[in-house]
Assembly symmetry: C2
Homo-oligomer: 337 residues x 2
């Protein structure tokens, strides 16, 4: 049986914060990262939870992330804001840009935020949630490392290229999805490898470009997109709009930059937000009731509203704390010298 440690959310945050500060991250970056990984753990997403602290520190040791860069805002158009992260994690840059970005969205009705030159490890649902909580509709995407082959190809080119989307719901958990455009997350394949379990069909190809269910072969070969050529088209779109369009790297460039240090992807993130008030004015309430009908129809027939499970996990964690494997806990404690 796996030994575990249960921590309150505050203790989880403090542990992450201590490990990050001990290794040289500035107060601002340590706070943002610790808050983010605690949020992931709280919402039942262990893959974006406290275990990320290990990777964050490893990226710093490898010289692949700045410990203390201060973000700079660059206003390029009425509805476009760039924030230069200066090789640091995306989070402090995003938080710095957020108030100015929201002003642009409220003023113009729709606006785009480009986070540039950042190291990216966080879940996109957590990035868009602050916008949804302000009553805005938002969309985010980011390339990653070149691990995924385009439909019809055999070589890794695209990242796992997640897309997140959120819709605000009054008095209800918001509708928020966050999905990789790859058939599976890379972390899931890694978990199959560790457990010695075969992969489901359709997750990847081996180094010869043949379909494979062997996790090690797929990790060395190429992952596949979800949904065949349609998922592949969406993955390409993410490469383009969160790469060259915002003046930043593709997944292939990010992987080359990594120099096999195993650090998180480096490059940009694009966030687009829309203000329903500016689309609908006084009629917003009536039209948003249509969306609630849609959700009710989904639930009546047993379809899940994206985000529901995270919200349930959140309520549980707020009451009972979060549970980490003992060895993960020990590894993080060992980083707190």
């Amino acid at each position: 049986m796996t030994q575990t440690v249960t921590l309150s959310l505050d203790d989880a945050y403090q542990l992450a914060h201590r490990a990050l500060r001990s290794n040289g991250f500035s107060a601002a970056h340590a706070h943002a990262v610790a808050q983010n990984v605690t949020t992931g753990e709280r919402d039942g997403c262990a893959s974006h939870g406290l275990y990320r602290v290990l990777g964050c520190v490893r990226s710093l040791w490898a010289g692949k992330v700045s410990a203390d860069a201060e973000p700079k805002l660059i206003d390029t158009a009425p509805a476009i804001l760039h924030v230069e992260a200066g090789n640091a994690f995306s989070l402090v840059a995003y938080q710095t840009a957020l108030p100015v970005f929201i002003e642009k969205v409220r003023h113009c009705g729709i606006a785009a935020l480009a986070i540039n030159h950042c190291v990216h490890f966080s879940a996109l649902w957590a990035d868009i949630e602050p916008l949804i909580e302000q009553g805005l509709v938002a969309l985010a995407c980011t390339p990653s490392h070149a691990w995924v082959t385009p439909a019809g190809g055999t070589q890794p080119l695209f990242g796992t290229n997640p897309i997140a989307f959120g819709w605000p719901r009054p008095q209800q958990p918001h509708f928020i999805f966050d999905m990789a455009t790859s058939a599976a997350a890379r972390g899931e394949i890694e978990l199959h490898r560790r457990a010695g379990k075969p992969l489901p069909e359709g997750w990847g190809l081996d180094q010869q470009g043949q379909p494979s269910t062997d996790a090690t072969s797929v990790l060395q070969g190429a992952m596949l997109t979800f949904g065949g050529h349609k998922g592949s088209a969406l993955a390409a779109m993410v490469e383009l709009i969160a790469g060259p369009l915002i003046g930043d790297m593709t997944s292939q460039e990010s992987l080359a930059y990594d120099e096999q240090t195993g650090s998180s992807p480096y490059g940009g993130e694009l966030i687009i937000a829309m203000d329903p008030q500016r689309f609908l004015g006084a009629e917003q309430k009536a039209h948003f009731a249509r969306a609630e009908n849609l959700f009710a129809n989904m639930q009546e027939q047993g379809a899940r509203i994206p985000g529901e499970r995270r919200f349930q996990a959140r309520q549980h964690s707020q009451r009972f704390g979060v549970t980490l494997p003992q060895n993960l806990y020990n590894e993080i404690v060992a980083l707190c010298q």
Copy 2:
């Protein structure tokens, strides 16, 4: 063997135009529709080609589309433009809005166009192409009729909800994809039914909510989204952002409005466009070269660039014309009294 008729693009346009004018469409609407269906036929998309003239006339006879509405522009925010189609087909409304919309995109950097209260039958790739040709990056989506069940459900709720995206390429056919978020287009299921052929697995459910490969059962039951719960999440996003967000119908409301006349979907379309110049300024050329690297990498390993096949069909049609089944040609001629 099927008898066919080959027409020059101009003759194809004239035939469509005559049929539409003869049945009462105004000059502006007849021109826009005839141009659109000729474009579909030209690019090898028979499902958005001249056969659509039959449906357009049927919608008019059923009282489900205006023959002559004049669009009205409504400017709700610096980066939002609504165009009220007044129950007519979307095309004249879109063409009227286009110059004002492009101005907004160039000024703000990103902008949204909502086409409201339109009957929608046209391919989205044709809608975004004029934006891509102006050097803009664009995205379009629209709900349709409630034919598709959400992942985990059994009843039709979503439309086939297409998403189109385009990226401008200098001296190359543009990168443009246009895909239904359903596993297959409804027209493809209809073609299987006519041919008495079983459907591939994963396209739909029968009326009892069980997986079925019988086309008639699926047409009466529910279609499935592509890519399981991920495709379903995207279909829901389209319902929301091209429905309630822009003050227009969901696919379920559109189907109810249709009253079983078999008319095209009624509601809204959302188009979002971004100006790379406003994101990148003088550095656009360098960053767009990154995108070309991505495309070259795709092609080197045998992956297709979306839009390539349409562009090849276009070149062929411009030289040799388009070929219609004789019975379709006869049906359209019969509409030209």
